[in-house]
């Protein structure tokens, strides 16, 4: 799996699920409604900034997605048009929920990447090769490789479509 796009960077550790999708919007489960409020309590201009940068890869600090078990969080990010998230580490429930809802999510342990990457930089993620290229800076960094079955789950849009596809194939 190769993902190419432009970066939008929030150099903040512990971005929590209340910031990603505030609980006041939790009584809706419509992905497009959730997307409208994505990251609202972290940056109320997130969607505008993202648009101005033509960005679709979200780069954050460590322990990304800490807090509640709400699946609304990765759903909001995905439906806001983010193709992948890159962070040094994730809260465990967010990590599972992201894969289960089909949001590509990568761990990068190299602090050099986070020093190098800036808003609008052109990035290229290689899930099999286990690296991320910052083309704007002309540098390459290691990321955690993603096993093929996780790539397949993400590629098909999450665990439910994946399970449906398996049962159709008779597996």
């Amino acid at each position: 799996m190769i993902i190419e796009g432009k970066a939008i960077v929030y150099d903040r550790d512990n971005i929590n699920t209340d910031e990603i999708i505030p609980a006041r919007y939790l009584s809706t489960s419509d992905p497009d409604q959730l997307a409208i409020h994505c990251m609202e309590d972290l940056d109320k201009d997130f969607l505008e900034n993202k648009k101005a940068l033509a960005a679709d890869i979200l780069v954050t600090g460590s322990n990304m997605g800490c807090g509640s078990s709400r699946e609304h969080a990765p759903i909001a990010i995905k439906h806001a048009g983010i193709k992948a998230v890159v962070a040094p580490s994730y809260a465990r429930i967010f990590f599972r929920n992201a894969i289960n809802t089909g949001l590509a999510i990568f761990e990068c342990k190299d602090p050099g990447f986070f020093e190098c990457v800036k808003n609008g930089h052109a990035l290229r993620l290689d899930a099999d090769g286990g690296f991320i290229e910052d083309a704007s800076a002309g540098r390459r960094f290691e990321i955690q490789k993603m096993p093929p079955f996780l790539q397949e789950i993400i590629g098909i849009g999450g665990l439910v479509p994946f399970a449906r596809a398996l049962s159709k194939r008779g597996e």
Binding site: D18, E19, S27, S68, S69, E71, I93, V160
Partner: protein, 418 residues
């Protein structure tokens, strides 16, 4: 090889019969807990996945707690969807909307036993580990997988061991121990790990205090918090009609990633200031700050013991006239106990607002949201900006003792001096 508690529980539930830390294994689940997330998301995911029947209707417990009674029309529809699901799939253990907040009502109703492997559709499902079981939170899709198969994949966590030594001083509580640990480990210090807790002197940490510590384990990133068994645990289970269980102690010589002792005798009343539960300071350092609201309740601190402590601090005094003091017992048992002991009457007569068991304003739901710039002392578990209403409202997390002392004085108050 000697094993930690979580390793023993994983081994007994792993489909392949073995489990070592770091390994990903498929596990059989003993109990699945679901709240409003069932009506909001899980029912929809189950429909999309074509779920025909659930794996075992007797191993599923459902409960409505976040917005009860329904706060809006949309919430009422979530509740309707939930009830349809419960009926359609024949869920045996539905606690409905009168039992209270899930993490208090589910163990109090006798569903949790030592040694069990439990998952719930809420991050604070770590709470149940107070009763010597594995218990963790999962999202809607993972819950749907468990509904269908009774299993899911899990990474076997590494364990760290905490030994609680000595007795807590007067006015210090399980909440202060939880905040002390948060100050030590930060919000991701235990990410993916199992926190195993031993209590040296049985009388020094009540089961109620253990629930509070288990509840806040997830704020340190922990996958689960598991207390060692002891007499206090057996007594609590007997009180709640739970029998026929086998406790799981750790093996002597089990391998831990780290081991630490916490000296309870020096734990003072603490507060987590905005914007994070790990921003912990002594209550005495923040004393004097004016507050608009005090909230006593939630799965962290809405148990009968918490209400008794608040009433002890209140004793004959009045709530400060500039403070809205909202008290929400976290379960029907706590509510009835507080009624019988006359606590509800004391609270109401002192000027507090007492509501029926619900999560209430904790996650910005209903019954006491905050306006711009307002300051609230809350006994809940999260103080992220915007969690209880306005983004710039300030939430200070504290024990019921500190919260009630603050409600009386209208300013953050160290309960030792109240």
């Amino acid at each position: 090889m000697p094993r930690t508690i979580v390793e023993k529980i994983f081994e007994r539930h792993a489909a392949k019969g073995t489990a070592v830390p770091g390994e990903i294994v498929e596990c059989n689940v003993d109990l699945l807990m679901m709240h409003e997330m069932l009506g909001d998301q899980i029912a929809r995911v189950a429909r999309e996945a074509g779920l025909k029947k659930v794996w075992d209707p007797s191993k599923i417990v459902t409960i409505l707690d976040h917005w009860v009674p329904a706060s809006t029309e949309r919430v009422a529809m979530i509740h309707q969807e939930y009830r349809r699901f419960v009926k359609q799939y024949g869920i045996k253990n539905d606690l409905g909307m009168t039992a209270g907040v899930c993490h208090v009502a589910v163990p109090e109703s006798g569903f949790v036993k030592p040694g069990m492997f439990i998952v719930g559709s809420d991050s604070h499902t770590t709470t149940y580990g107070a009763l010597n079981c594995f218990s963790t939170g999962i999202g809607a899709t993972d819950a749907t997988i468990v509904l269908a198969k009774g299993t899911n994949w899990f990474r076997v966590p590494e364990s760290i061991h905490i030994e609680l030594e000595g007795k807590l001083p007067a006015f210090s509580t399980g909440k202060d121990v939880a905040l002390h640990l948060l100050g030590k480990f930060g919000t991701d210090g235990l990410n993916y790990k199992a926190m195993e807790v031993g209590v040296k002197e049985t009388t020094s940490a009540s089961v109620s205090a253990r629930f509070t510590i288990g509840n806040m384990g997830v704020e340190m990133g922990a996958k689960c918090v598991i207390f060692e068994p002891d007499n206090e645990l057996d007594a609590w289970l007997a009180d709640h009609g739970v029998a026929g269980y086998k406790t799981v102690p750790p093996d002597p010589g089990a391998a831990y990633e780290s081991k630490e002792a916490v000296d309870l005798t020096v734990v003072e009343p603490l507060i987590a200031a905005p914007p994070s539960p790990s921003n912990v300071k002594p209550a005495s350092e923040l004393a004097g700050k004016e507050v608009d609201q005090v909230f006593i309740g939630t799965c962290t601190n809405g148990r009968l013991e918490d209400l008794q402590l608040a009433a002890k601090i209140l004793k004959g005094k009045k709530i400060h006239k500039q403070v809205r003091c909202i008290i929400i017992p976290a379960s029907r048992q706590a509510y009835e106990g507080a009624l019988e002991e006359g606590l509800i009457g004391q609270f109401v007569k002192a000027g507090a607002i007492v509501e029926y068991p619900t999560c209430g304003p904790c996650m910005g739901g209903h019954m006491g949201l905050l306006g711009p710039g307002e300051v609230c002392v809350s006994t809940s578990n999260r103080n992220f900006p915007g969690r209880m209403g306005a983004i710039d409202a300030e939430i200070y997390l504290a024990s019921p003792a500190t919260a009630m002392a603050t409600a009386i004085h209208g300013r953050i108050t160290d309960p030792r001096g109240a």
